[in-house]
Every structure is written in C-alpha cells, then in structure tokens.
Symmetry: C2
Subunit: 230 residues, 2 copies
Amino acid sequence: MTNYDQDQKVLVAVDCIIFGFDQNQEELQLLLIKRDFEPERGSWSLMGGFMQKNENIRDAAARVLTKLTGLTDVYMEQLKAFGKVDRDPVERTVSVAFCALINVEDHDQEMIKRYSARWFGISEIPQLIFDHDIMVETAIRRLRYRASVQPIGFELLPKKFTMRQLQKLYEEIFSEKLDKRNFTKKINSLDILKKLDEKDKQSSRKGSFLYKFDKNKYLNNKANGMYFKV
Amino acid sequence: MTNYDQDQKVLVAVDCIIFGFDQNQEELQLLLIKRDFEPERGSWSLMGGFMQKNENIRDAAARVLTKLTGLTDVYMEQLKAFGKVDRDPVERTVSVAFCALINVEDHDQEMIKRYSARWFGISEIPQLIFDHDIMVETAIRRLRYRASVQPIGFELLPKKFTMRQLQKLYEEIFSEKLDKRNFTKKINSLDILKKLDEKDKQSSRKGSFLYKFDKNKYLNNKANGMYFKV
DNA sequence: TCAAAAGTGTTCACCGTACACCCATGG
DNA sequence: CCATGGGTGTACGGTGAACACTTTTGA
C-alpha cells in the first residue's frame, strides 16, 4: 500500500441545522448557539464540532446534535460539504452540514442553556458566522424538497397531533397558506394517518381530532410518490 | 484566535462522476479510469484526487475533471461528502463527490488514454473501488432529479441536436420510454429551444430538424418550475 | 347566545397520457 | 416504389385549486 500525500490534511467539521416546530407560536424554528469561544465569540452560530479521525462523519454529526439537545435517533440528512479556502478564518476547515428535525417537546432544556442556545423563527434568523447562513438556506431548500417527496413533517410534531397543526407545519415549511379542505383531502388520500378517538381541546372549544402517523400504512403505500407540490 | 485541535486532520478527496451521452449508441455513459496505482491497481474507479490546502473544494473537483478530459467550464454539481471511517483502506479520507455533465464530442481522447479511462453505459457499470458504486447511484438519482427540475440535458448534447436525440437522452436519464408526441409537445411548451433551418440527415432519409438551446428564452421563462415528472 | 375554530364537497381548469396516421427522402 | 424514421392532434381522466357554510361547545 502506498501512502497518500500527507501535507494536505485538513480539519473536517460538522455543522447541524436543527429544525423544530413550536406548537404555541405555530412557527418553524432553528436552534442556534451563542459562541462563547473565539473566533467570533458572542456571535450566533450553528452547533458544530470536529469529526474525529476514528469516527464516521454521520456519527460526528449525531454526536454534536446529542451534545446540544440530549436527543438520539433523530432524523438527520447530510446536505453537502462546504469547502471554500477561507470559510474559517482560523484554519483551513471543510465543514459538512447536516440538517436535523426534532420534536421540540423532547429536547433537553438544560443542555440548551449550557450552550446559550436559542430558538429562532426561520424568518428572523440573525446574522451567522462564517458561511452558516448559506448552510441554513441550503437546509431550508432541502427541507422543502424533502417534505414534498416524503412524509417527513411528522418528525417535527409530537406523536399525537391535530390536522390543523400538521397543516400549520406544512404552511411554515412551504411559506404559503394552504386551503384547509384541500389539505385534509390530500393528507387523507395519502392514507398514512390513523385518526384517534381523542380530541385536543387546547385550540378551540369544539376540539379537534388527534392523529398518529401510521408507519405501516406508509410503508404499504410507499409507491405513492409525490406528497406535495414543490 | 484560538487554535483548533490539530490531531484530527484528515485527507479530503474529490471524486468525479462524469456523465456523457453517446450519440451513436444513444446511451448515457459514465467515464471511469483503470487505476494504475495501489491500492486496487487495475480496478475501475471514478476519477479523483486530493484537495489541496489552498484550494476550494469545488476547484479541486474542476481540476481533477480537467486533468482527465481537458475540459473547463463544465457543468458540475456537488453531491455530498462520503465519510465512513473505513471507506479508504490506506488512510482516513473524506471524499466529496461531484457529478459532471460533459459533451462527449468535446473531450480530449488522448488524455483519456493516458489514464486508461473508458466509457461505460450506465447499465453496465463494472464493480468499482471503495464506495464509488454508492457515489454513482447517488449521482444517477441526482441527475434524474435535476433533469426533472432544470433543463440540464443540453449539457450532454452538442450545440445543435435533434428532437429525437433529446428524447433519447431523457429516456436514458429516466430509464423509461417516452411518447414522441407528448415529448415534443412538452418541450415546445417550455419554450426554451430555437428551431433551426438545418436538418440532420444522419439517422433518416427524411432528416430531422436541428434545435439549439436558447438561454435567453429559458431565463425569461424560468418561473415555469418543473420540467419533467420525477 | 355567541364567538371561534373544526369539519366537510363540488366544480372547473389544466396537464399528463394514450393513441395512429401521413410525410419526405434516398436507395 | 418502398422502407425508414420524422412529424403531428385529439380525447380522456386525474389532480390541484378555488370556494362557503354548518357544527360544536365553553364562556
């Protein structure tokens, strides 16, 4: 075995674009941390870390996510590598961005405080360090695409949710109002939900029925293809 | 400025999935090289190389592509990073895969010989080294998606082409037969081609009209959205 | 009894799909 | 004159999009 050129080694980082859906504000949000280290101490940033030499890159991203949220087994998707020479002022670093969808209820509030992290609505994201703003843009585009192709929204909701919550979530993802009747019709036609006998009374006097995502139904109907228009 | 942890540096490679469309065989093809160095000497492989420390990752991919084909200003799209610990047996290496679309007529035949490279139809791709087969799968999926969203096919054709060639190309990309009338109708409705007065007489006695991609028309109609069904 | 959200059906326009015949030409 | 590929139009069905009223119930 020959050895490769050793002079050109660089650091590989991972950065996590963490999406959540705030039930109360009915808002798609992003979890950002306030850096308490140089460079750019005090600026807002994605949660990141360095890939270890003996660690799969995907595992590195999962580790970093767990460090901030306490969550494991989270939906994660790699976006791409960001590799401009000067993207990190300290040293040449290639960063691989991952986008994660979490159920906000589940995550560890204490851990978040430890990193001075905060949720931001996707329409009010502050300026971010390095090329993190481009990563976020990329992530939102990917989320939209993914949501139009797979029933991915359920990752962002609690186990039980109402049709209205689901609709609000998709409205946030696609940044457009959807028609209540058309939405219900579409979702029902996909045949991937189980309607429960319970109602959620939080948001109205009448109450609205709760649903669960039914993975078995989904796997049977997988041939369906598109879920929503892009 | 603090310094990051220096122990974890790794090599970053780029690998190019190079697509071409063979006019004669009407086949979508992939350009592969026969490795004349260890490890895996003699095996088929994607063209790759290492990113230099002072080089944007995208530029590294372009450099590698030029090295093999002689071409510059080629359509390239990053797929993603591949970063399993053991993907390269020699040493920990993260590879970023790029997919490139080239016009086969333009490329440098001599250079290809120098690398013992060869074109393979996408349905007859040999076993590849490392995780290159997964990269190729990913690239084909991305090509399909991209072709359904952008008028990308023209990158693979000569400047002037017939409606039949374009159709064959899309048939290859989507691996399905398309109806001649529906195809023509669809393409015409997009209003992105300029019909020329010339005919190509190679494939029939009657001859078939040549077209050119009209970038101005395309940019004006960009709002169109989808191009083909996925 | 009233305010506020939940739930529900129909119509129309457009687009994707299926489908078959005539045309032009070189040999 | 004929074999070969090139070019063209129509009819149907499905899906997305627009649109408004009734129901429930806690205050």
